[in-house]
Symmetry: C2
Subunit: 338 residues, 2 copies
């Protein structure tokens, strides 16, 4: 089986629509001062939010975003689905403990938000749950010390590095609508793991771009669609360099996504001091979806988007053993409801 | 929401049965010399299996078990679901890359095997996939160095410690049966995170027992069943000490599971030298299910079992910051098919 060529990602068309009936986004101060700042539900004062460690702050971000999304939807969810970048997905796991909800822990690196929405959509559309809450989080300080260098060392960043977003985003998926025009999930593509051979922990955009290309193009092919069928093809956190690679690679395969492509990582810190190649982390696409895109869909700015969170499966341990860093991307079709 | 008392795990009754049409188990030498040795499909010669690191060996275990299960089922799975104990679930992620399959990465610590079977069952029963492959793996040497002490240090073990199983187990779930009497999944309960306050990385059985109690008892209540409805209520890797706690705690809640309870961790090294409190790890329940229980079900020894893999959400980082170690358990009802 290992030698077999696959046809691409696995595409699902949901027979019953899944309503996104609640959402929440909580971000750090920098993110709040960026161009999307006005869209986020809450901006925290500093990188600890009153907790005694960055990890505890990240857990609080996850838990409070999930609780806020649940509260906004006014439902009692059957399941919490989600994850984060920390080892043993502790932000998600300990939040599940504190919230007392049945829990499915997921790990898709920074693709976790769309992964959780796909599994949650299967649960709702299949009739296995009435409502679920999906969430993902990340934190600059916890990620840097786990994957690269603790901030206290003052290690200089490469010019193509990205800044992990401090934030958590959450959505509640339900079988029944709560209001008019509520965005609905209608289809999804589960992505494969692609490996372009990158082994540098500062170059995540390049590690993820081929996975985004594979998932988006196989999604369009499987659905019989073209980029023009979408108002936006949104990638998670390719950053400015990874986004260029993504658009170029799609073009080489005969698909021009340049007019509709948007990248959460490129948007969130755009034009700011120390922008580098933009934002990254599970929280990046989660807060940009919950804070910006879902709100603008409700206002009618976007009618149909392909939300494609992108993850780099970076393990410091196996990279030290000579492995490269593969990427993965999962896509979710979100349409403005009637 | 955080103060609200929940009613327990979330129970699903699948309207369409899910067939377990393929399975595979590969284990280390010790596991192969134990009382279940004759049931496993393959026993590897040493703890590296010809690879240059223990992590690479674990990845090979995962990949080969998944490939063997797929081959035994004779299908082309739409999705690979699974995970392992290593940071960033590298055994699963890199196997997904090598196998070229669309991939949903899961993290439920040692509960991952039943978690993957629940998500896989939703995909099959809901009509979102025709067949999926679920897998989980663990390795003594990779786990010890990540969670406790590298083996090279020769750190003595506590008497209540368990030995992480070297092995990977995999099952293929399909919408259609392949042969007569093929075991089917008919129901499942997604568990909550329970925290008894254990903070010692050597006492996993005690950390997990309350979660197993919560999931099994809420499953029985939600289904209107009693322990006698099952030939075996199988826990993942509570070990001998955790199993005693589990049976006692159930008894205190008025449910006598003593006649039907079996624990994969207590079984796999039973009577062996250096048994300690038995086996543990994602691979422990995965290989015992795929190697022993599913084969004995096909032979008619067990007609209906509740497979409840149990996980301790142990994070060295947050335990150093004063957190305790919560547990989680997910239950799957497996019945002998017609």
């Amino acid at each position: 089986m290992t030698d077999k060529e696959r046809d691409g990602g696995h595409t699902i068309r949901f027979k019953k629509p899944i309503y996104i009936s609640g959402k929440a986004s909580i971000v750090g101060r920098n993110e709040g001062e960026g161009p999307l700042g006005g869209f986020f539900d809450q901006v925290i004062g500093d990188a600890t939010w009153g907790e005694s460690s960055f990890e505890k702050c990240e857990k609080k971000l996850f838990r409070e975003a999930a609780a806020m999304a649940v509260s906004s939807a006014g439902v009692e969810p059957d399941i919490l689905l989600g994850g984060d970048l920390l080892n043993q997905i502790v932000s998600a796991g300990y939040s599940a403990r504190d919230l007392g909800l049945p829990f499915l822990g997921l790990y898709g690196a920074c693709s976790t938000m769309s992964e959780s929405m796909i599994v949650g959509s299967m649960a709702i559309s299949g009739g296995f749950a009435k409502s679920v809450v999906c969430a993902a989080s990340s934190h600059y300080a916890t990620s840097e010390r786990q994957f690269r260098f603790p901030l206290e060392l003052g290690t200089p960043k490469s010019p193509h590095a990205q800044n992990t977003v401090i934030g958590a985003g959450s959505v509640v998926l339900s079988a029944e609508p709560r209001m008019e025009n509520e965005p609905v999930i209608t289809a999804a593509t589960i992505g494969r793991v692609s490996d372009p051979g990158v082994s540098e922990a500062d170059n995540m955009g390049a590690a993820m771009a081929p996975a985004a290309v594979d998932t988006v193009i196989s999604h369009l092919e499987n659905m019989g669609e073209s980029p023009e069928d979408y108002d936006a093809i949104i990638t998670g956190d390719l950053g400015t360099l990874g986004s260029e690679l993504f658009v170029d690679m799609c073009k080489k395969l005969g698909v021009d996504v340049s007019r509709v492509h948007m990248d959460c990582g490129s948007m969130i810190f755009k034009g700011m001091k120390d922008e580098y190649c933009g934002g990254s982390g599970c929280g990046c696409s989660a807060v940009t979806l919950a804070g910006y895109f879902l709100k603008e869909m409700l206002m009618g700015k976007y009618k149909k988007v392909l939300f494609t969170a992108t993850g780099a499966l970076l393990s410091p341990t196996v990279v030290q053993q000579g492995e490269s860093i593969p990427g993965i991307a999962h896509a979710v079709v979100i349409e403005r409801g009637k």
